[in-house]
Symmetry: C2
Subunit: 432 residues, 2 copies
């Protein structure tokens, strides 16, 4: 519809055609109002029954809500209208009538229960609040990619069908691939490392990852969007600098370009993290968690940080922070240890109550890497396509991955990660 | 390495540390040269044996090619050096020695055979030519996304694990999903349609698609990157306008931002398509193909266009073009027919010897859509998550999909689509 005018652009004095959904119909007797909603907002259509053709009035008021309509008429100023203007219609066309019973009602501020909303995402995303989250999500990805280009990264796309998983055969979805066993990739880890050893040196990828974990929690997904960074010739400290830069850029993008969406969601105090994110060592982290007194049992060296501990520390720190210098045995084998062998260069970034980023400097020495596979109980032969490239001049490198859904979830303080993904995949949910 | 200087930025008079790969070592007796290559280019390191410490000379010349090194020294002007400058080294550190036998030689202009290159992408992408293709690919995606934002699209990510394929059970890779049968999605088609019926109205996605087709040709992949567009309230003509805009933006981005890469690849005549892409009807297309006399047998109404016919027509037209108004029975059921029912609103865009884009206006009427499923021999029940949303006010809409690899392939006239994807997946190739 090339002659369509968006609701928000309707200017008094002009004759326009707006097209959208019948959001609300109010019949006050001699006068009736139809509210048409489109992507940009809503606009009131006024039907003065005595002054108008019966057919026209009927077309515009004898409608089911959520029907798709096109209305042509003159825009007039009207103080009492919600947007200060209304349309006096000349014609109303019902393009796609809606059934009278809707599985959920887009005109209600408070939506239905989450499963109903997820089953009916089309209707759910006619609600301003749900739509705002996904507009913010799109801005997060845009701003992150721009930050990666500022960091001189080349965008890559790595395969999602793979012969072996990053960390072996657990937590992988098996595929039948022309009679061969294959898997859906759980992380671009190995492929992005292969690319930093190439002439590209510094890369990023935004793409799906697949994890067959049996978790069913408000913060886990079986299919997620991973934002991956990897660079040659940097260490874990510089990787953390890059991470901070990308996360800050995402917040800045949203603050600058999503003011309407933030208003819709009621964030009047949305703020971009301004300070550098504190970098706590693992040792400091367990000390501070213990000092909060929130845990029944004190943590000791070598313990992983329990969810309760992360929450206590998050409240204590009050914003994004890194945890560094983990015990080597907690971190995956492809992460490089510090020279003492006890501590790892791996780091996590917390936001602040939930792990948002995992990264580190990588093991670039061929012999150490092959040893790592063996210690992990993996067959280095199965990963030869990867390890052999470490024999031909693999530079020191570091990187990290952010879960896009967790970034949006923590940014907007959403109660469930499924609020940040259009069509979530979990153990119960495979459709739509 | 925060104090690292890139080869291309080394300025005479400064003391710098460059880090990269030992590209070439030339020993001329009293003098020897090491060429170090990094992401930005190459730089010569000069070793004057009599004037330098033996250890330093040995470190810089008794090296295997492709070893990773860091060299610190003063940059001097030197007319005879390939870049007009060279480094007089103070120290050379071998960071990661390479084995002497390389599976392929990054310093050779002409690479190895394609399978060897694909098995060793890390080394292959140390070649300027291979690297240039993927830098151009990244720019194509960046420019396309910017064009989508100019078109006021919201970026979406739709699931890759699905319960049913877009066009039924053929050509799908099956997955085991927590004991249930599932598939890898062959297209975001149904999901992007669900989103244009939401408040987003106009969306794009760049993501992987998976097709279990048994083709093994230079222009098919079993995993590819699809660039998808879909918009409410537009028809197929406006969808073609948007397609032209995005494709042109990709060419413009490459022309503006990849001049070095185009030079490397020897494209001195790279040009952005300036004219509007001609829109030929299917009927005109078969007439013109028949008129070329290139086919043994004349095409008749209802024939699909054979590859030879596409090639003949492509040479005849000489650039990008659309083919519109196909016989309805050739196009998928979710594409809307013109009112006569004989002709489809579906279109293809050719570039010019290969199909690059497929699109059309979609069937938005619930009853027609359900009929379409039945005529296709598909069970509408299995697609109820999709069809039911068409009962609640689905606006007219149209869209298309471009294969990112085909866009790069046709733009750069690459002989094989595998040149445009880092780690191709085909019937023979599942690793790396």
């Amino acid at each position: 519809m090339q002659d369509r005018t968006h609701a928000a652009a309707a200017t008094p004095g002009e004759t326009v055609t707006v097209a959208g959904w019948a959001h609300e119909i109010r019949d006050l007797g001699g006068i009736a109002f139809l509210i048409v909603r489109d992507r940009t907002g809503k606009i009131q259509i006024k039907f003065e029954k005595d002054a108008m053709d019966d057919e026209l009035v009927e077309a515009g008021t004898d409608l089911t809500r959520e029907s798709v309509v096109a209305v042509t008429g003159e825009v007039e100023e009207e103080e009492r209208a919600p947007t200060g203007v209304e349309i006096v219609p000349e014609s109303v066309e019902v393009i796609a009538p809606a059934e009278p019973e809707l599985p959920l009602d887009p005109s209600e501020k408070v939506g239905a229960e989450l499963p109903t909303r997820l089953d009916n995402r089309t209707l759910d995303l006619r609600r301003e609040e749900a739509k705002a989250i996904f507009e913010i999500r799109a801005e997060v990805l845009r701003a992150a990619r721009e930050a990666f280009r500022d960091l001189e990264c080349t965008e890559i796309n790595t395969p999602k069908i793979v012969a072996t998983g990053t960390e072996g055969g657990t937590e992988l979805f098996p595929i039948t691939y022309f009679g061969q066993e294959a898997f859906m990739n759980q992380s671009p880890q190995l492929f992005k490392q292969l690319m930093v050893g190439s002439g590209l040196e510094r890369v990023f990828e935004v793409g799906p990852i697949f994890r067959a974990e049996e978790h069913n929690t408000p913060r886990h997904l079986n299919e997620a969007t991973s934002i991956d960074f990897e660079s040659a010739f940097i260490d874990h400290e510089e990787a953390m600098d890059a991470c901070e830069q990308v996360v800050r850029a995402a917040y800045e993008g949203v603050a600058a370009n999503c003011t309407d969406q933030l208003d819709t969601l009621g964030y009047d105090d949305f703020s971009v993290p301004e300070e550098a994110f504190p970098r706590l060592t693992y040792e400091e982290a367990i000390e501070r968690i213990n000092a909060t007194g929130e845990l029944d049992e004190q943590l000791v060296w070598g313990d992983d940080l329990p969810t309760e501990g992360e929450k206590a520390l998050g409240s204590d720190v009050g914003g994004h922070y890194f945890v560094t210098d983990w015990p080597s045995e907690i971190k995956p084998f492809y992460i490089k240890d510090h020279d003492d062998g006890e501590l790892s260069t791996g780091f996590d970034m917390m936001a602040p109550n939930m792990e948002l980023v995992s990264g580190g400097q990588r093991e670039h020495r061929h012999d150490h890497l092959v040893e790592g596979f063996e210690q992990q109980g993996l067959d280095p032969e199965a990963f030869e396509y990867y390890t052999k490239m470490f024999k031909y001049g693999m530079p020191p490198h570091a990187g990290w991955a952010i879960g896009a859904e967790r970034l949006v979830m923590t940014m907007l303080d959403l109660p469930n990660i499924r609020e940040a993904v259009l069509f979530p995949r979990d153990r119960q949910r495979l459709s739509p």
